[in-house]
Amino acid sequence: MRGDVMNWIVLGESNGRIRLVSKSGTGGILPKGSYLTIENKDEGAKFILRVDDTSQSEPFSPSPLVVEMDLSPLKQDQECQNVISAYRVKDISARSDGLIDFIPPQSLARKSTQEEVDLALGSHDTGPLVFIAAIHSSQNQLIKDESGKPITARLPEEMFYHQIMVCGKTGSGKTVATKYLAQYFVEEMHGAVLAINVKDVDFLKMDKPSVARNPEVVSEWAHLGLTSRGMENYVIYYPATIPIDSSQGVSPEVCKKVTLDVGVIDPESLAGLLQGITDAASQTLPSIFRYWQKTGRRPDDFTFSGFVRYFSAKSEDDRTFDTITARGDDSVVTLHKGTCENILRNLHSAIDFFDNDDAVCLDWTDILVTGKMSVVNVAGKGGSQFGSVLLRDLLHKIVRAKDAQTSKVKILIIIDEVHQFYNTETTREALGDLDTICRTGRSKEIGVIFSSQNPSDMPKGLANVINTKIFFKTDASSAKSLGVRVTDEEMESLRKGYAVATIHELSQLKVLKFPMSTAGVFEVGK
């Protein structure tokens, strides 16, 4: 039977790579990304190699003539060998003379065990489990040990606090992977998750157990000891003016209406309302609002509509506005007529999101709760504007709570389609609290997952602070531009759930497959 005995013979070293050829009886190609172990029992040494290049070779080079003449070839002629070039990942050696062991030619290599791969990767004791995968000639598959069990790796938990970018086309497995990470953060790390849902019902059914129909998924769950189960402490927050369509299977009992309150909202959050104006101009609105919030408002008209009327009146007048900066300095600013009109237009469209009587106003205490997943649904008309303001407000409040050490709950913030909330041209300065979070996440135990179809959607100011990049099927050039080694063909052939990545503190892991989240994913079909 094929694959009963699988061994590779060391030929030697060339250009820093160990070259190997399969021994007869090895009935296939060991895919790129696999791991091999060579044991030198005499020296008590062990070497673990990662397959970097792999190909088929035909030792007998048969002629095509016999087939051309419609005769059958000799099957003995059809023997193939697997030629491998592998990188030496880990040496386990007792030598202490400062030299590095030779890997003698003609040594036998075999597929590495889980324990050996753990050693090679410097695996952690905790962290979300993923499968190590390989791509070869458009085939995606899990790396398996000699007994056929898939090899896994644990992504380091630290990874969450060094920011993650997840990219992929629709249907590539990006959202499912993000759900898996969110579920791990809540259930295993006992943290809190805040996810911004921007389309469909992507994150709105995490209270329900996933339905797996694909035997591969069932088998993967069995291997990891996972069973389908919904998340327990789970709340969906949605703007009062954009009701959730319950026909899509969202549980009404986990949904709560939210509104924005002009009395407590962070003025800087209003910058999220403005589209199509310069960073500098957009910075004036929070200062104008802060003045109004503190001193300029009429006691009987302390609503967002009241602010819009105030702004409108000033715009009609001399367009000169009193301001209070974030540092508390009083000032005056005169806006261009066009800027006023633009701001006013955006303010009008946001009136509905404020001051709804039957809705609650979200505070950090709602989010920073151990083992809770909060989803803010901003799918629907105007949702991104609402989300943009709410997200800024919540981030500000979370950072403040963390700074003041009022809360010690770890938090993971998942922002889908981040460009809907932060313009791709947004500078580091204009990112405000998001920039603070990204740069100080480790100390504050705040992590962010940016999920996007295209890495170019990421705000410029964030480009250098994301340490983990995970690419599902997407445009190869964008992945390559961010330092991920992948060919166009490999990227094009990635199946759902498979990804290429650079992982914080796990540099050896290049291709991986995420297990399906056990909550909130529903496979259709038989």
Binding site: S24, L71, L74
Partner: protein, 304 residues
Amino acid sequence: MDFSWVSSGPPEGRVTNLEPIGGYGLDARRGQSLMNDPKTLVSAYDESINKYNALEGTAFFTSHSIVHVAQSGYEPLNLLAMYFYTRSKELQGKSPHLTFSMNPSMDSQKDYLKDKLDFILSNAVKNSVLLIDGPIIAGDVYTTFMSSVPEFVSRGILPVFFVKNSDSNMVIDNFSELGSKYNSDLHWSYNALKTGQRSSFFRYVDRRNARNAKVFCYMKAMDVSPVRVEFFVESFEQHSSSIPLVMDMLHYLTIVQGDDHNPQVRPIAIAEMYARETLKLVNFQRLMRESGLHPTMNQERFAW
């Protein structure tokens, strides 16, 4: 190295045709069926030789190679042998591994043939077809091969010998109507045969020693120079009912090889590959140089 002694024709002999002279069609498809039959056992032999000429003597490094065409794939067996022949008694006295010889050419052929025969007899499979590169009889030393015939027969082995390059004229010299028209038997057979045909079988008997006999024919599997296929007389008689089918199989195996620059049956080509590869296991030239031997001028200039 010079292999001309291997392919030179036998001493004068008598040739008779066993069937009407002419072309006989070969059926590759029937040969394919025989080859695919799990009961058919096929092996092949070939060798590769390296020679080193030194002032002190001559070294031969030979890889004898047998390949069994097993169901699971080609199964190779190789014997590596090295001999050093010298006319210096003094030198020979220094090591038991050196051979004193006043006629290194003859003695090397004898050792080579002895190793070849022992290796083949030790590893040939009972009731198999054994394909061997080279002629049955070529020069005086080759007649020793004939002594093994009873053992091949008793074990049901059908040895089939292949001669690709030969200036032999056994056929044209013995049939007066052909004599003046052709340069050699290969010249005659190339013109007489169509692609996919064999010639009639002929029986050759040495006039001086009737024990040196063989049955042969020419096979033109491709539109290039034919090859001579030879059998021991006793083996030919033992397997006479299967011989036509075996010829079909040889035709099929030549097509499998598919090389019109070097037409030969595929298993021999594989045996040759293993012979060449295993010869590389030892860096013979370097070994000779490092052993303190002094190469002849030709060895230095034309070693490779």
